[in-house]
């Protein structure tokens, strides 16, 4: 009993505790600058590369819309998981979140995107929906029509011998339009994202 009281008093009359008891103030409720919040716009010009949409792991969290002042990314807060990949992926620094953008310059990180298109020949029935829907193809061959046949070899996707074929993979922008338009899920686009830290190169 006595020991308990002694312990209690000892605990109560600690200088640290007394100072806290009389002088402590609740810290102001503010968001620290390093907190990775929802991405915000920095005001720089968006060039509609869509890398933010390609890197985003959450479906439907970001899209790029056309406004009066040009293209602009838009964040849907209900879907965003605040991973900050869109901030890293953007080549122009349109978005910012926490210290990510600052860290990218500080660490000198460079990101590279590449894409792979896999066509499953067993599932592909050569309907040509992918080739017709592809926005890259539309620019190269405006006259491409039903069936996915064309006379030029400069296209990204083309139907040959009843199967869809990839001709120029380097032209792919990873929009996945072909994947969305495939009725048999034969075509799949993989986005390969690679980040390298280069300390020896000065920005």
């Amino acid at each position: 009993m006595t020991i308990s009281i002694v312990y209690y008093l000892q605990e109560f009359f600690r200088l640290e505790w007394l100072q806290k008891f009389f002088f402590v103030r609740t810290a102001p409720l503010s968001i620290p600058p390093y907190f990775r919040n929802y991405p915000e716009l920095t005001g720089k010009t968006c060039t509609h590369h869509l890398f933010c949409m390609m890197a985003c792991p959450a479906p439907g969290a970001i899209d790029v819309v056309k406004t009066e002042s040009g293209w602009q990314p838009r964040i849907h807060k209900g879907h965003c998981i605040r991973c900050g990949l869109c901030v890293e992926a953007c080549p122009n620094g349109v978005l910012t979140s926490g210290r990510i953008l600052e860290s990218m310059f500080y660490d000198n990180t460079r990101l590279s995107f590449s894409f792979r298109i896999d066509v499953d020949p067993d599932l592909c029935m050569g309907c040509g929906n992918c080739a017709v829907a592809c926005p890259v193809n539309k620019v190269i061959d405006v006259q491409m029509s039903y069936g996915g046949h064309a006379s030029t070899n400069e296209l990204l996707l083309i139907v040959r011998e009843g199967k869809s074929q990839v001709l120029h993979l380097e032209k792919c922008t990873g929009c996945k339009t072909c994947e969305d338009n495939c009725p048999t899920e034969a075509i799949r686009v993989a986005r390969l994202l690679e980040a390298v830290h280069g300390p020896e190169e000065e920005l």
Binding site: P32, Y34, F35, R36, A55, P57, A58, I81, R82, C83, G84, L85, E88, G98, R99, I100, S103, Y106, D107, T109, R116, D118, R188, A190, R191, L192, L193, E194, A195, V196, H197, G198, P199
Partner: protein, 362 residues
């Protein structure tokens, strides 16, 4: 054979002492518990099914969301498994940074576990002290990664953000303060006579029983099986000269004390990796490829294994996760709870094994 059971007492699924829903059915004889069964399945998320067929960029974030308390280790084990599959090497500085963040995450998880034990034995003061320390640890995590939980810090080929010099100074200063308070609270716990009455000799898991039940993590280490620690097989921890802690009593007291000792050990591991860290790149790059692997790491609660199968574009074809808590829940129900003297000790014994139901059911 018919068993003479006075009454079958259910605990949960909603119980003030449990952090997550689980149902314990205790067979009681008088007030003594003669056996227990656990009923799980209240928070199944089906996260492995969601992971299938998705690219690694998405699975990386899904893996973190398996568990809210130990999210960093899920990220780390998944990413290291991907790196093993595709032969990506990690820069040295990034490997040490991974250890720093992982140990900070282990600290906050252990502090929460010890808080819930103190709360369960009605020592709320000590529990709240521990939560206060946990806030400091979470602040450090936020300072490094930008987020308190779901840090998404590790990616194939390195980590996402570098540790800056001013942050390192802040981390070291905060670690010193955390170490001081943890030592003080550890002595409080060790020397408290009423804590000893509620903890010593209760819920004993002998070494043989722990081996039979395949107990993992701090639960097994409190029963004298230190070699269970997967960190012994991790190359970065080998560089740091890691030695697991262990105790031999196997009761509630030993399990909590093992966690307290591991907190101090985590602090020294963080310091060790800060000392050994040199400048250099933190992102080596590398593209995940095809392969199949079973890889495990040490979560705060024990061994966490991922079985992964990917195709050459880095999509996850098959995944299955084995989390540590299911082993400890088994050990708790079938070995620790047998012969516990009263119903009040059931909840404290269950909490001392630190069950994480979200991990268990995924």
């Amino acid at each position: 054979m018919k068993r003479t059971v006075d009454v079958n007492i259910p605990l949960g699924p909603i119980h003030p002492c449990f952090k997550e829903p689980a149902r314990l059915k205790c067979e009681a004889k008088g007030e003594r518990i003669v056996g227990a069964e656990v009923e799980l399945g209240y928070m199944k998320k089906g996260i492995e099914r969601i992971m299938k067929g998705r690219p690694w960029q998405e699975v990386m974030f899904l893996a973190e969301r398996v568990c809210g308390i130990c999210s960093v280790i899920h990220n780390m084990v998944f990413i290291e498994a991907m790196e093993k599959i595709s032969g990506i090497t990690v820069p040295e500085r990034a490997a040490f940074l991974r250890v720093v963040v992982n140990e900070l995450d282990r600290m906050q998880s252990h502090l929460l576990a010890n808080f819930s034990y103190c709360y369960t034995i009605e020592h709320e003061t000590l529990g709240m002290y521990l939560l206060d320390v946990r806030e400091r640890v979470l602040d450090e995590l936020e300072r490094i990664t930008g987020s308190r939980v779901m840090a998404a810090y590790m990616i194939p080929g390195g980590v996402r953000f570098d540790l800056r010099e001013e942050d390192e100074g802040h981390l070291r200063a905060n670690l010193a303060a955390i170490e001081g308070s943890i030592t003080r609270y550890m002595h409080m716990f060790e020397g408290g006579p009423l804590i000893a009455l509620r903890s010593k000799g209760i819920g004993v898991l002998t070494r043989e029983a722990a081996q039979e039940a395949y107990a993992v993590g701090p639960t097994a280490r409190a029963s004298g099986i230190p070699e269970i620690d997967r960190r012994l097989r991790h190359p970065t921890y080998e560089k740091l000269g890691f030695e697991p802690v262990s105790r031999y009593e196997g009761d509630n007291f030993a399990r909590i004390m093992v966690r307290f000792q591991e907190l101090l050990q985590s602090i020294s591991l963080v310091r060790g990796s800060l000392d050994l860290m040199n400048g250099g790149p933190i992102r080596g790059g590398g593209i995940p490829g095809a392969g199949e692997i079973a890889y495990s790491g040490e979560a705060p609660r024990g061994e966490l294994s991922y079985f992964l199968k990917t195709d050459d574009a880095g999509r996850v074809l098959e995944v299955s996760i084995q989390t540590p808590s299911i082993m400890n829940i088994e050990a708790c129900c079938h070995y620790m709870l047998k012969g516990v003297a009263s119903l009040a000790d059931v909840s404290s014994t269950f909490v001392s094994a630190d069950p994480c139901i979200a991990c268990t059911e995924r």
